[in-house]
């Protein structure tokens, strides 16, 4: 009886997940239409606007971009919970993922006045058996957080190392850090630390949860060291023959 119940609830779960995926796709279409029209408004495609109008439309556009990233997060979470999406294993070069993520992140870091650097600590980083797309999401989330929670003039450094058996990734920032008493909940779904909320009121609380689950699904381990107001280092280790 108990077994049967478990099965039923799993089935309902699966339906809810594909519902979430469908919903986030639909959200994305609408948000895209809004993004395009807001950009066109500010670019004067529908006539000139006053400075005040431009300013407010610009702010709506920023909020809309935020919604797009939230919808993406929901999509990633639902994919992760749906077994058939993780993991599509192939030979993956993590350095390629890092350099493309560096490329994406460089702009936001520069804009903010945060120095972003990459250091490879060993000559050869072995290829991994991993789901490239998922791993990209895990890495991108860590880059996004490091930049988001590091003030202007700060520093974010990414390290990559390997002993031949594992590949070790670390991203160190000089940001706001995690309050001591909240460290235990940092990887919980929807959790956001008080100082993170204060600095940036809007966020999903899903990024770290997603990253940790992706690394876990690959047989890896993820953790962090942090000191409030000093900075954080998030790291993960993935087995080469995972």
């Amino acid at each position: 009886m108990a077994k049967k119940q478990a099965k039923t609830s799993h089935k309902n779960g699966a339906e809810a997940i594909s519902g979430a995926m469908l919903l986030s796709h639909q959200l994305m279409s609408t948000l895209t239409a809004m993004k395009w029209s807001l950009k066109m408004l500010t670019q004067g495609d529908f006539g000139a606007m006053t400075k005040e109008q431009q300013d407010i439309v610009g702010k709506i556009d920023q909020r809309n971009d935020l919604l797009i990233s939230l919808a993406n997060r929901v999509l990633h979470t639902s994919k992760l919970e749906d077994e058939k999406y993780c993991c599509n294993l192939a030979s993956v070069n993590i350095e390629t993922i890092i350099s493309s993520t560096m490329g994406y992140s460089k702009e936001s870091a520069t804009k903010k006045g945060v120095n972003l650097e990459f250091k490879r600590l060993t000559e050869k980083i072995p290829a991994l058996r991993a789901d490239e797309e998922m791993l990209k999401i895990a890495v991108q989330n860590l880059f996004d957080n490091a930049i988001k929670y590091t003030p202007a003039g700060g520093k974010v450094t990414v390290f990559l190392d390997s002993d031949g058996k594992n590949v070790e990734f670390k991203i160190q920032d000089s940001g706001i850090g995690v309050p001591e008493k909240q460290k235990g909940r940092l990887f919980h779904k929807f959790f956001r630390a008080d100082n993170a909320i204060k600095l940036n009121p809007v966020g999903s609380g899903l990024g770290l949860f997603i990253s940790k689950n992706i690394i876990g699904a690959h047989g890896g381990k993820m953790g962090f060291d942090s000191k409030e107001n000093k900075g954080s280092a998030f790291y993960f280790s993935l087995p080469v023959n995972g």
Partner: protein
């Protein structure tokens, strides 16, 4: 001579925005709101470039999605040289690879681009 762009897209609002943007840049724009209509228009009018959405409505149970439109264009020697840019919110690696393998010249994820960035891409392909 103005270049002809065909937009195959089921969202009327996105078509409206793209049409306006392309027209203001001197392009001639036509549109198709499902895959079947898209393929017919491509064969009939031979546009200079196609902007193609992937998730398209199923008309009369024919289920001609963007991938089918793309293979239809590339299989016919009369249309195979027409450049196709996929414009979709499907961003899975598999879908991107499949689209490029079928012969799309580029794959743009809608929510990551704006209409003027799309114009820039098109201008690079159609100088």
């Amino acid at each position: 001579m103005a270049k002809n762009i065909l937009i195959v897209e089921d969202d009327a609002f996105l078509i409206e925005l793209l049409s306006k943007k392309f027209a203001s840049e001197g392009f001639k724009v036509s549109e198709a709101m499902n895959g079947k209509e898209g393929l017919e228009k491509i064969k009939e009018t031979k546009p200079d470039l196609v902007l193609l959405d992937l998730l398209l409505p199923d008309v009369n149970g024919l289920d001609v999605d963007g991938f089918k439109v793309l293979s239809g264009i590339k299989e016919d020697p009369a249309t195979s040289s027409i450049p196709v840019i996929i414009l979709s919110n499907l961003g899975q690696q598999e879908e991107i690879e499949r689209g490029l393998k079928l012969g799309a010249i580029d794959y743009l994820i809608k929510s990551q681009f704006t209409s003027d960035e799309i114009i820039k891409k098109v201008k690079k392909i159609l100088p």
